[in-house]
Amino acid sequence: MVALDGLTMEVGRGEVFGFLGPNGAGKTTAVKMLVGLTRATSGRGTVLGAPLGDIGVRRRIGYLPELFRYQGWMTAYEVLELHCELARVPRPDRRKEIEAALVTVGLAARAHSRVETFSKGMQQRLGLGVALLGSPELVFLDEPTSALDPVGRRDVRDIIHALKARGTTVFLNSHLLSEVERVCDTVAIVDRGKVVARGALDDLLGGGGVRLRVADLDGRVDTLARFGEVSRDGDWISITGTPAEAVPDVVAAVVGLGGRVYAVEPRHQTLEDRFLELLGGEGEPA
């Protein structure tokens, strides 16, 4: 079975990159290739300048798998200690690293509880803590908020913002498009193993727009074309490509033309709209 076919993309250092696609598009397979768990039958790629699967580069990456578990018989502290050893974190730094990770993911109070007593959400927090150990230059997060409550999701957003602030590259697989929209600089949408769209989030979503419900403007609608592409549906006028700061000017122009404004809805295309548009309405976000 072909999971990925002709996947070509590049993620810049320091970017927060969102990787999206419907179920079965090949997102997790792509991440597994990037972290060296699965080999590509053909093609090539580099991670932090080293070929895929390079063992040395693994010191510099963190990974939160989509489906994972940690040793239930260990405490959270011990799991982090084990990963410090495996990640070759220098011994004198380990305690500080572990305590910082526990605080960051909100598990400091449960540091010495066995992992088998943790809820799924707490295990996900621990997984995030493991991925952050050793100050990695690149962090892969595969569905990091799937088991988290709203507070946990906000925490993950904060963690991603903090990672970005210190220059860490974040590769985020998420089915929550609104989450991706809030944290990512660039996005790629993958479908059937191929990237169907890629770019800065603002470019991908196009400009903004505004929708107005107006009466008494018959015949004068075309004069609004200077604000963007105008379309009309009954009393509703839609102008696409209008930046948010130009919306008051649009309203002033409509009023100046003698129009009576009943409603104004500034809007921009959401990532979900764009996602569904690119996939031709098929498949659900995954």
């Binding site: 768990l37 990974y63 994972f68 018989w73 990963h83 495996l86």
Partner: protein, 290 residues
């Protein structure tokens, strides 16, 4: 600390923390207590007046003691083989299925280090258990009866070999086969090797060359029983070996006897076998996509 040692220590800690060692300790203490008491009762018979109905001569006692000790040690081997199979079979495949291995495999540790570390952990556990259980049994039996088998250290080495054989094979299976299937195949192979050993000795004694060859092939393909016969030989006093040699066909199909130690060539084969199977396990895991 190297990745191999980290994994070995993790394996030992897991066995301790998940109460495997405690379970083995309890079983061993029960077996040792009961058998030492039995040996003591048996030894009392040698103190009866000579010629009385219950009197046991020192030669008879040694014969009895060696046979009982072999049976007790077979129980230890069986418990150990079971433990090896059921701890090694989920050790790699099970951790991949559950997702425990995923985050570890993306650390700067090679898959070879993971397999070798787990092997080392299990190997140390098995060696410590065999040496501890057999050593305590021998010392206590010697304390209550003054009997000591002829080659206790050789015996321990052979038993460790039996365990390493079963464990290494199951570890190889665990790199590809789901845990339960791996456990069943590992145990099945151990059982078949035992049957193969019986066929081998029966073939020799009864001059059935085809059966002997089949048994010999089994001993080569899965050397646990060949090593077990070395262990038996190390526990047999000269009087038993002489008796067996003189008993002709009567000794056929007795899995608790051995008239000769395994030749050095066979021991070299066993060492090579473990190395090759372990190498296959490393290769199998390295070439597996996760």
């Amino acid at each position: 600390m190297s990745g191999t040692l980290v994994m070995a220590r993790l394996t030992v800690r897991e066995a301790a923390r998940r109460k495997l060692l405690l379970a083995l300790l309890i079983i061993t203490i029960v077996v040792i207590t009961v058998t030492v008491w039995g040996f003591w009762r048996l030894f009392q018979l040698t103190l009866e007046p000579a010629g009385s109905r219950d009197y046991l001569s020192p030669v008879e006692f040694r014969a009895f003691a060696s046979q009982i000790l072999i049976t007790v040690m077979f129980l230890f081997t069986f418990v150990l083989a079971l433990s090896s199979v059921f701890t090694a079979s989920p050790s790699i495949g099970g951790e991949l299925e559950s997702g425990v291995a995923l985050a570890m495999l993306t650390r700067p540790i090679s898959r070879a280090e993971i397999v070798l570390g787990k092997w080392l952990g299990f190997a140390v556990l098995a060696a410590v258990y065999v040496a501890g259980a057999a050593g305590v049994e021998f010392i206590l039996v010697n304390w209550v009866t003054s009997y000591m088998p002829p080659h206790p250290f050789q015996f321990i080495a052979y038993m460790v070999g039996v365990t390493w054989t079963v464990m290494t094979f199951t570890l190889l299976l665990s790199t590809r086969v789901p845990s339960i299937a791996g456990g069943i195949i590992g145990l099945g192979a151990y059982g078949l090797a035992w049957m193969g050993g019986i066929a081998y000795s029966a073939g020799i004694v009864l001059h059935l060359s085809a059966v002997e060859t089949a048994g010999n092939i089994t001993r080569l393909l899965f050397p646990s029983d060949g090593l077990w016969h070395g262990a038996i030989y190390a526990l047999e006093p000269a009087v038993i070996i002489a008796g067996l040699a003189g008993s002709g066909r009567a000794r056929a199909a007795n899995p608790f006897e051995a008239t000769a130690a395994p030749p050095p060539a066979y021991l070299a084969w066993c060492v090579a076998w473990v190395v090759v199977v372990l190498g296959l396990a490393v290769w199998s895991f390295r070439t597996r996509d996760v």
